[in-house]
C-alpha cells in the first residue's frame, strides 16, 4: 500500500487539510460527507487524495445520511469517518446516538461555527454541549478539543484508534478558525512513531458460513421492556466509567501558587497561555488549566489544581455563552472556589480580553 507520509517532515497546512492527511495516515478507508462551511476543505482534500491511496468517498444527500452511512460502514468493519459543523452537527445527533447505543467506532470531526441556527459559518465554541451530550442518551462519547494543527494531526490519528479500541463514538472538536488557519506541523506515519493502528473487525458480514462455526449476527438498539433497556444503559455506563480514567487528557501550568486559574479549552487556550505569561510578568499569579478531553472531563485533575493552588478565583473563558462553564460546574460540584466567566459567543478571544477580565475581577 502506497505510504501516505514517506518521511517525518515539517509542513505548512490549513486545519481542514490536516484532517484529510491525518485520516489517510491513520488508514481511514472511507469518508461520508455533505457540504457545510467551514469544514469543506476536509472533503476537497480527501476527494483529491483518496483515489491515490485506494480510499473511498461518498457525498450523501445530507448530514443525517452521512452519519448513518458511517454507522453502516463501521458495522461492516471499515474505518469510516465524517466531518461537519453547526446545523450539520445537529442533524447528526441521531446517528451519533445510534453509535453510542451500539458501541460503534464512529469518528467525526466537528469544526464549530456560530450558533444557534445557521448562525455564522465562521467560528465559535457553541457546539460543546451538543458534541459532548447531544442526542437522547447519556453522552457515551469521547471528545477531544484541539488547539493547534499538530494536535489536529495527532488526535485525528488517535481518534480512530480510540474509537476502535474503546468502541464509543469519538469526536475531534475544532472550529472555523482552526479549519482555515495555516500553520506548520510535523506530519508522520503513525507506525514510524511506534503508534500501532487499532485493528478493525466487522459486526455484520462476518467471514465463514452461518451455522458452520459461526452464528448469524443480530444487532439491535430497541428493547421491549423498560427493564431490558435499564440493564443495557447500566452496562453502557459501567463500561464508559471504567475506561474514562485512561482517556482523560488535560494540560496545566503555573497553578501551584496561582491566585486565579484561567480555564479554557480548544483554540482559546492559546490566548489563555499567552495571558498567563503576560500576567505573571506583571506580577499577577495566574494559573492555566486546559481540558483536552471535554468528555470524559478531567474533573479530578481540576479539583487537584484548585486545591494545590489555593486560588481564590476560577476564570472560565469561552467563545460561547456558558456551555463550557455548565460542563465544568457539573464536573466539580462541591468546590467552593469563586467562578467568574468571560463569555464571547461566536467571537474569537485574544490574550488581552483575558488579561483585562482578570484585572477586573482580581
Amino acid at each position: 500500500m502506497l505510504k501516505v507520509v514517506d518521511e517525518t517532515k515539517k509542513a505548512f497546512l490549513t486545519g481542514n487539510e490536516t484532517v484529510a492527511w491525518a485520516a489517510l495516515a491513520a488508514g481511514a478507508d472511507i469518508m461520508f460527507g455533505y457540504p457545510i462551511t467551514p469544514q469543506n476543505e476536509v472533503m476537497h482534500y480527501w476527494t483529491r487524495l483518496a483515489p491515490r491511496y485506494g480510499r473511498d468517498f461518498l457525498q450523501t444527500e445530507d448530514e443525517i445520511s452521512a452519519g448513518f452511512t458511517v454507522c453502516g460502514a463501521v458495522q461492516a468493519g471499515k474505518k469510516a469517518f465524517t466531518a461537519t459543523a453547526g446545523p450539520g452537527n445537529v442533524l447528526m445527533q441521531e446517528p451519533f446516538g445510534m453509535a453510542e447505543a451500539m458501541r460503534l467506532p464512529l469518528f467525526a470531526i466537528i469544526q464549530q461555527r456560530g450558533g444557534p441556527s445557521s448562525g455564522t459559518v465562521v467560528y465559535s465554541q457553541q457546539e460543546v454541549a451538543l458534541t459532548t451530550y447531544g442526542g437522547n442518551g447519556e453522552g457515551y462519547r469521547i471528545v477531544y478539543s484541539t488547539a493547534t494543527h499538530q494536535e489536529i494531526y495527532d488526535y485525528t490519528i488517535k481518534g480512530f484508534n480510540v474509537a476502535w479500541k474503546y468502541r464509543f463514538p469519538t469526536f475531534l472538536l475544532g472550529d472555523g478558525y482552526q479549519a482555515k488557519m495555516r500553520e506548520p506541523l510535523e506530519m508522520y506515519d503513525p507506525e514510524e512513531k511506534g503508534i500501532k493502528l487499532e485493528p478493525t473487525y466487522p459486526l455484520v458480514g462476518l467471514p465463514g458460513k452461518i451455522g458452520e462455526g459461526r452464528e448469524p449476527q443480530h444487532l439491535c438498539n430497541i428493547y421491549s421492556l423498560e427493564e431490558e433497556l435499564y440493564e443495557v444503559v447500566m452496562k453502557l455506563s459501567a463500561d464508559y466509567e471504567r475506561i474514562a480514567p485512561d482517556l482523560v487528557e488535560w494540560q496545566e501550568h503555573s497553578c501551584e501558587d496561582a491566585d486565579i486559574i484561567i480555564l479554557t479549552h480548544g483554540i482559546v487556550s492559546r490566548a489563555a497561555d499567552d495571558a498567563v505569561k503576560a500576567l505573571r510578568a506583571q506580577g499577577i499569579k495566574a494559573g492555566y488549566f486546559r481540558p483536552i478531553t471535554l468528555r470524559p472531563y478531567p474533573s479530578q485533575q481540576l479539583r487537584e489544581a484548585i486545591a494545590k493552588s489555593g486560588a481564590k478565583i476560577l476564570l472560565i473563558a469561552e467563545s460561547s455563552y456558558g456551555q463550557f462553564e455548565r460542563l465544568t460546574k457539573q464536573e466539580i460540584y462541591g468546590e467552593t472556589i469563586k467562578i467568574e466567566h468571560l463569555y464571547m459567543p461566536g467571537v474569537g478571544i485574544v490574550d488581552y480580553d483575558i488579561i483585562n477580565k482578570v484585572k477586573s475581577v482580581l
Binding site: I222, Y223, S224, L225
Partner: protein
C-alpha cells in the same frame, strides 16, 4: 380504601387491556383514584401483554409497581413473565387448565390459585367472555369496585354491542358473576386449606 395494585397479563388479543380499562373506568365512576397503564412493549403484536391497574381513595404515586396485590396470568407464558410481581401478600391467580412448570410459579405468594376460567368460558358460556370472567374474579378478590358499578362500566363500554345483540349483555353479566364466584370460592378454600 387503601391502594390496590392489580397486574393482568396474557397474550395479545386476549382482551387483557380492555378489562383493565373497564375496571379503571368503573373505579373512576366510584370517585376513586384510578391509574391504568399498559406495558406497551413491542408485544402488541401477539406477545405477553401486561396491564397495571391501581385503585385508591388518595392520589396514587407512580403508574407502575414492582409488587402487586393481585396478579392474574391469563396465559401459560404470562405465569413465568409475572411471577416477579408476587410477594408474601400477593394473590397469584392463573388458570388451572394450564400445565405450568412449578419453577415458573412465584417463589412467594399469599395464595396461589388455579381458577377454571377457560374451562368455564368454553363449556358454560362462550370463549369470548373469558376475559370478563377474569374481570369478575378481580372484583371477587379485591372488591375494588362494586358489582353494580362494574356492570354499568361494562354496559358503557360494550353497550353498542349489547343493543345489537341483547343476549350478549346477559352472557357478559353472567360471566362477570361466575368470575366473582369462582374467585370468592377459591379465596375461601385457600383460607381453609
Amino acid at each position: 380504601m387503601a391502594l390496590v395494585r392489580i397486574a393482568l397479563a396474557g397474550e395479545g388479543g386476549q382482551g387483557v387491556q380492555s378489562v383493565a380499562e373497564i375496571l379503571a373506568e368503573a373505579a373512576y365512576n366510584e370517585n376513586k383514584q384510578a391509574i391504568y397503564i399498559p406495558n406497551f412493549g413491542l408485544e402488541q403484536r401477539g406477545g405477553v401483554s401486561i396491564a397495571f391497574i391501581q385503585v385508591s381513595d388518595s392520589r396514587i404515586g407512580a403508574p407502575k409497581f414492582n409488587k402487586a396485590d393481585v396478579v392474574i396470568a391469563m396465559s401459560e407464558r404470562a405465569v413465568g413473565r409475572t411471577a416477579s410481581y408476587s410477594d408474601s401478600n400477593t394473590l397469584f391467580v392463573y388458570d388451572d387448565g394450564f400445565d405450568v412448570d412449578p419453577a415458573d410459579l412465584p417463589k412467594e405468594a399469599k395464595q396461589i390459585m388455579g381458577l377454571p376460567a377457560i374451562n368455564t368460558a368454553n363449556n358454560e358460556l362462550h370463549p369470548r367472555v373469558f376475559n370478563i370472567i377474569i374481570m369478575g374474579a378481580v372484583i371477587g378478590l379485591t372488591n375494588v369496585v362494586t358489582f353494580e358499578t362494574a356492570k354499568e362500566a361494562l354496559e358503557h363500554k360494550l353497550g353498542y354491542k349489547f343493543e345489537k345483540n341483547p343476549d350478549l349483555r346477559e352472557l357478559n353479566f353472567k360471566a362477570l358473576e361466575i368470575g366473582k364466584q369462582l374467585a370468592e370460592n377459591a379465596l375461601k378454600e385457600g383460607v381453609a386449606k
